[in-house]
């Protein structure tokens, strides 16, 4: 569902995620296909309940697909054990959450160093790497020893991004990264993500905010567990639907309609 490429980091084929509940089965994803290239900034948009968070969890290796194939950086995720998935998250994936998810008892520096605890990174290197990551997101050094609940929301999100960066991951997944921030601070966070993209990292942002999506190279619309549309950001800043995807979009829409979903 993307432009042809020679360097995909994510390849998803016919991905289903079905939850078993007391009320019955709930399909959250119903046959998602997509390819995301290295150094791409992709936004995944969709209304509430469309399956975008479920997709993020699967792409972030926090959850496994019920059916389908997910290949991350050339590795078939279904072949990995829980521990291998944990190791993959520790080394290759960084998460940024809407609610920051910082440890309130720990200092800013400690929060950023946290992912390194689960790697073989020597103690001596940890602080240095954390400081580098914090400088990369533009947080002033005087805040490093503050407790994370003593800084502002924008600073918290920058700390969260620094934490996602500290392991030098190939992929950064951001779930509504500007959801709890004012416009100016949100813009600053998005600019930070774009800088990271320019540094050859792959960025996937989950959002329902078109303003946020407008910063992405490509926007994937998800609805009822399926990609319903795909737009690319033109150099002029306008979004345009790709011709090759339009027919797929229409077919998917037809499927949904027929299925009564």
């Amino acid at each position: 569902m993307s432009d042809s490429t020679t360097d995909p980091i994510i390849q998803v084929t016919n991905l289903h995620r079905i939850y078993e509940t007391r009320a019955g089965t709930v399909p959250a994803l119903r046959g998602v296909d997509c390819t995301i290239n290295r150094s791409e900034f992709v936004a995944i948009m969709g209304p509430s309940g469309s399956g975008k968070s479920t997709l993020m969890n699967v792409l972030g290796c926090l959850d496994r697909p019920t059916i389908g194939k997910y290949i991350f950086a050339g590795t078939d995720i279904s072949t990995l054990s829980d521990n291998q998935l944990a190791d993959l998250r520790a080394t290759s994936i960084g998460f940024v959450f809407q609610s920051f998810n910082l440890l309130p008892r720990a200092t800013v520096l400690r929060n950023v160093m946290l992912p390194l605890v689960y790697t073989s990174c020597p103690h001596k290197e940890r602080e240095q790497r954390a400081r580098t990551a914090l400088r990369a997101v533009g947080l002033e050094e005087r805040f490093y020893e503050h407790k994370s609940n003593e800084i502002s929301g924008g600073q918290m999100q920058r700390v969260a991004i620094a934490r996602a960066l500290v392991n030098n991951p190939e992929l950064i997944l951001a779930d509504e990264p500007t959801g709890n921030l004012d416009t100016a601070t949100g813009e600053m966070v998005l600019q930070t993500l774009k800088v990271l993209r320019d540094q050859k990292r792959t960025i996937i942002v989950i959002t329902h905010d078109e303003e946020v999506a407008s910063h992405a190279d490509r926007v994937l619309y998800i609805r009822d567990g399926l990609f319903a549309d795909e737009w690319i950001n033109t150099p002029s800043g306008a979004l345009r639907q790709t011709d090759s995807e339009r027919s797929i979009t229409q077919n998917r829409a037809a499927l949904i309609t027929e299925g009564g979903s």
Partner: protein, 395 residues
């Protein structure tokens, strides 16, 4: 996750909930301090019995040959069973001591020269009578501190050189020494004199009622006891059944079994507190897991394995238990020392002190770690099994 990281996380987590942590470990503190205090007191009681009552020598054997034994019999036994380091004999008698105002009745023990060495008895005042006293049948005696108290009004009084009238003839005997020993010891109210003096001047018959032997270190007391029985049966031309040999080791073993049983019962009672303390730890850890669900989800998303989460919570529960154990040890030792002092103050006649040993510390540490693992494992596994996606959504 390395040990340093684990300890750091544990310290941060526990210090974030100081009040709750302190309240939670109270059960462990009470349990450990009770166990330590009780076991220290029982061990102190054992030491008092073994030490003060003269049972300190597990190598000692008591011999009743079915007939009185003379010095030449003792020499024969020493040669026949060379595993004895020394052999001593004693003859019992009772005699009255009359003062201008009172009359007392005491046990008199006529002893051979090596008796005091064999029994490990020490003199508080004076000196031991010698071979010359035995040979000349000198009227010399060594008295217990209780007699000193009766006759001179103070058990620490030095009566050496003083004479008392003793026996049916009320002959004068000179006190040459006072033997150490508290009120619960047999020597406290015993008068010792050379066996020959007793036999010649008081009882009129010769021979020892009882014989004691001290086995060389390294030999099996029970085997030497069997050899002695065989030798004496042959020597006196009698049946082995008529010879009775009783070892101190046997008594000490019985005492140890009895006190071990006593300790087990007391420890079992105190362990109820430990069990309740363990439940408190589990409850706190379950609460902690519930409160930190999002944190657990975050850690999983950052690459923590299930084993990392298990270890983190297990380390917290073990640390809590060890902290409780540490304070329990301190309070237990203080409690045991206090009780010892109270006993010594109330019962001035005996010397009692709680026996606080390294083994108590080791046992407390092992118990605390065991409780930490036993009651912390379930919450830790529960934390580790949390679904990371659900955990991150948890409000």
């Amino acid at each position: 996750m390395g040990i340093r990281d684990l300890l750091h996380e544990t310290f941060v987590s526990i210090s974030a909930n100081k009040g709750r942590s302190i309240l939670t470990i109270l059960g462990i503190v009470i349990g450990i301090s009770s166990v330590i205090a009780l076991t220290s007191l029982v061990a102190g009681f054992r030491n008092m019995l073994l030490g003060e009552m003269g049972f300190s020598q597990a190598r000692m054997v008591m011999i009743w040959a079915g007939t009185s034994m003379t010095d030449s019999d003792l020499d024969a036994l020493q040669q026949g069973v060379p595993e004895y380091e020394m052999i001593a004999g004693g003859s019992y008698y009772w005699a009255n001591v009359t003062t201008p105002t009172e009359q007392y009745s005491y046990s008199i023990l006529g002893i051979s020269q090596s008796y005091f060495d064999l029994m490990g008895l020490e003199l508080q005042h004076g000196s031991m009578f010698d071979e010359e006293d035995s040979r000349r049948l000198n009227r010399v005696i060594i008295i217990g501190r209780g007699i000193c108290f009766d006759l001179f009004g103070n058990e620490d009084f030095n009566p050496v050189g003083q004479a008392i009238r003793l026996g049916d003839n009320q002959d004068q005997y000179t006190i040459v020494g006072v033997v150490n020993g508290d009120a619960i010891s047999s020597q406290y109210t015993t008068i010792y004199m050379p066996a020959q003096t007793l036999q010649k001047r008081m009882t009129g018959w010769y021979g020892y009622d009882q014989v004691w032997g001290l086995v060389y270190e390294g030999y099996d007391v029970y085997e030497v006891s069997d050899s002695t029985k065989s030798f004496l049966a042959y020597y006196f031309n009698t049946e082995e059944d008529y010879i009775y040999i009783w070892t101190m080791k046997e008594m000490i073993d019985q005492l140890n079994v009895m006190l071990a049983g006593f300790t087990v019962v007391l420890t079992a009672i105190a362990s109820i507190s430990l069990f309740v303390g363990g439940i408190g730890i589990m409850n706190m850890m379950l609460t902690s897991v519930s409160e930190r669900t999002r944190e657990i989800g975050l850690r999983r998303s950052l690459g923590a394995r299930t084993s990392d989460i298990t270890l983190q919570f297990l380390t917290e529960s073990i640390t809590l238990c060890l902290a409780g154990g540490f304070f329990g040890l301190v309070f237990g030792f203080l409690g045991a020392s206090l009780i010892s002092r109270i006993i010594s103050m109330v019962m001035t006649d005996i010397k009692f002190s709680a026996a606080i040993g390294l083994s108590s510390v080791v046992i407390a540490v092992v118990v605390c770690v065991t409780i930490g693992v036993a009651f912390g494992y379930y919450p830790a596994r529960r934390a580790a099994k949390l679904d990371p996606v659900e955990s991150l959504r948890y409000q």
